[in-house]
Subunit: 347 residues, 2 copies
């Protein structure tokens, strides 16, 4: 009678609410929040119970930051860059256009000082964050007609995620903001001419292949998108140390599992899309370069009068320079060789 109830006494029962920025339909970017919560339960013998809610059930994705800050919810599992209009420095919690790929982003966050810098910034909003997922390099969007030159981009109404929209505006695109659920309808009725979301698996779930033929790549504005667990800082500070450790390591597990899910689920759907008529097209060099220059210009402008943006930008971009120096040697040579064998049918 002593040993059994002791378990109940030793750890407090805590129930938290997590709001995902995504609909339940997406077992990738939403589903990984369930993996995170389940891992926390296992680590704490079920004592720390994080309930997971899809976008809109407790709060809407774009209200996630305010809701965590005010303690209405405990965690938002979301894209930090949803909140870039509040402060563009939020973009670095997701990754910025022409930025780090998934592996580099993890390296910057875990060992390159990135997460510490971000949390210094997040603390101003009563928030602490932990990386809890990544989509990898996203696709560049669905177009009804071919886009060969910079001229073809002029005036295009393009559904594109927040911060990327600011960049393409500079090259003449008309960016449109729309939640996932409304993209298909907007493409169908011509409210937008083109739309990007994530990649083959998620885009197929939204039915985007049925309203556009050309599928462009790469999604240079989302080259290694991190999903963050944004947590109310006061509630975090009040947790037992072992529950804090549970959140940290379960977030890391979710971070790996989300990438693994995308990498497992995307290839067969990509193959199927192409079989059923989707045409893959790379963005041309002049479009890529114009966007690259527009991004640089935007970063320079924002760095001028925003210290948080500048601190994060300088750390992230100096990391990028070093990382792409290293990746172009062994990693790239190995991948390139095997891609050539893949194309030659030798794998």
């Amino acid at each position: 009678a002593l040993a059994a109830p002791a378990v109940a006494q030793s750890l407090p029962n805590i129930t938290w609410q997590l709001s995902s920025g995504y609909p339940k339909l997406l077992d990738t970017i939403y589903g990984t929040a369930e993996v995170f919560a389940e891992s926390v339960r296992e680590l704490t013998d079920g004592k720390f119970d994080i309930k997971v809610f899809p976008d809109g059930e407790l709060v809407n994705a774009l209200d996630g930051l305010d809701a965590v800050q005010e303690g209405k919810i405990d965690i938002a599992s979301t894209a930090s860059n949803y909140f870039w209009e509040k402060d563009p420095a939020f973009a670095f919690g997701t990754g910025v256009p022409f930025g780090l790929n998934q592996r580099m982003m993890n390296a910057w966050l875990y060992e390159g000082g990135g997460l510490d810098l971000l949390n210094k910034f997040y603390s101003k909003f009563n928030i602490i964050g932990f990386p809890a997922g990544n989509t990898g390099a996203q696709m560049g969007g669905w177009f009804r007609r071919e886009i060969n030159t910079l001229d073809d981009m002029q005036g295009i109404k393009f559904r594109i995620g927040g911060f990327g929209g600011e960049i393409v505006r500079k090259i003449g695109v008309n960016p449109v903001s729309l939640p996932a659920e409304r993209i298909y309808g907007a493409m169908e009725n011509g409210t937008v001419d083109a739309a990007e979301f994530v990649g083959p698996y998620d885009d197929d779930k939204l039915g985007l292949n049925r309203v556009a033929k050309y599928y462009y790549y790469p999604g240079w504005w989302e080259g290694g998108v991190t999903v963050m667990n944004l947590i109310n800082l006061e509630k975090w500070n009040a947790l037992p140390k072992s529950y804090q450790a549970a959140i940290r390591s379960a977030s890391a597990l979710a971070n790996s599992v989300m990438m693994a899910r995308y990498d497992t689920l995307n290839p067969p759907i990509l193959r199927e899309l192409v079989q059923f008529g989707t045409v893959l097209r790379p963005y041309s060099s002049d479009i890529m370069l114009a966007c690259f220059n527009a991004a640089k210009e935007t970063y320079t402008e924002l760095s001028e009068d925003n210290e948080d943006f500048k601190a994060l930008h300088d750390s992230y971009m100096s990391y990028r320079g070093e990382a792409y120096l290293w990746f172009q040697i062994s990693e790239y040579a190995q991948d390139t060789f095997l891609m050539l064998q893949q194309r030659a049918g030798r794998l």
Copy 2:
């Protein structure tokens, strides 16, 4: 007086011994085992204490499997392919020549059925394994003179990790097996003509740049090396569920942290090596293709009379085909564009 001792009663005090397959000198591949153990302590309020020992202190790296199997130690944090001579199927716990890169390897293990297949195999040795680190694509080794053609490889005495040695033997190389600590001396006194270990950061610690000028890439036999926590299965089964969860998620955290460390530490050392005279050279296509064909031949031979090898091979290789189909689209286009900007000095 009731609440405080309750903590002590609720979870058993357990002390385990982990033997790393690597020397303490390597804060990457050895140091991450410390990160793992510390995470387990945090998750369990210090109750589950895993003591970490470097190679040789409890057992030698090559005896790690036997020691875990017999319960002399609880965990070996090591390369599964160290034990390929016992059964070549062990190689798939590390990754095989011309195999998956780091991200693909994680995807195969976590979501592609790879870890379940491996653990089915490991269970025959009274072992369960969890991925706990990755080095990324390794470099292809240090040579005293240039190696331009397949002919130049004939008769070369090359220190190379176990399974890769079998492949290069087929193209005329004379593979030599040596522990990390003895590589420098063997290069210096001419016992070997060439040597590979890991990558810039670790190789520099071993001083290999002081005994050879040419640094080749990629290390096609180790394109995404996983380090495994190999655990005694009976002891695993006897753990409380929450301690099992702690090992699982702390291993996943270590897996990410090791890769992040390598990606952070390699670039500045690579830069320094080149500044001080190291010459980077890609393996020529004829060498790469000959080795690729030799690897395929080896896999076919081993699959013929080893069911475990065949099951793991078929799963791993079909995953590779799909993964390289997908990676050559958005991921590769984004990386390539940014590498070109890096070379043009625009990052």
